[in-house]
Symmetry: none
Subunit: 73 residues, 2 copies
DNA sequence: TACTAGTCGGGTAATTAGGGAC
DNA sequence: GTTGTCCTAATTACCCGACTAG
């Protein structure tokens, strides 16, 4: 079994689905340097799941926090 | 773990997990000469861990962490 | 010898990159 | 200033049967 100290990566389509935007938009974010990207030798991009999720959480504004629903922070 | 001093070899599946691609894609990289490969007597491929890691680091671009992440602007 | 998981091949869909304009 | 859609070319993903690794 391979060691699991690696970072989980996401495809542009998955990131686009998380933000509910077009994959092209995610590509623009990567081009603009707003999100870190890992390129395959073929030129396709992969994104770090932790980075995407933290960004998603960072840009999320909750209405109210009742109890321990906040487990990531 | 295994022998030290020797170079660690990775299977196509492990390299595929690092790049979040299909093992078949890694095979294609080897066929196209984008990555060095070592063939077993049976025809299966093995890849050098150092080469894969350096390539992964080479194709990784971090975000420019500006201070204005605080949503002030 | 038999067994499980992985990796050959090829072939065909699906995704992505890049440019450019609105 | 940002996002979505158009196009073409390239890359990648999933399908199969057969073989290898251990």
């Amino acid at each position: 079994m391979p060691q699991n100290g690696q970072e989980q990566l996401l495809t542009p389509g998955e990131v686009a689905a998380m933000f509910r935007v077009d994959p092209k938009t995610v590509t623009r974010w990567a081009t603009a340097g707003r999100i870190g990207s890992i390129r395959t030798p073929g030129g396709h991009r992969r994104f770090r799941e932790s980075e995407v999720r933290s960004m998603l959480a960072e840009l999320t504004s909750e209405v109210n926090v009742s109890d321990d629903l906040t487990r990531g922070r």
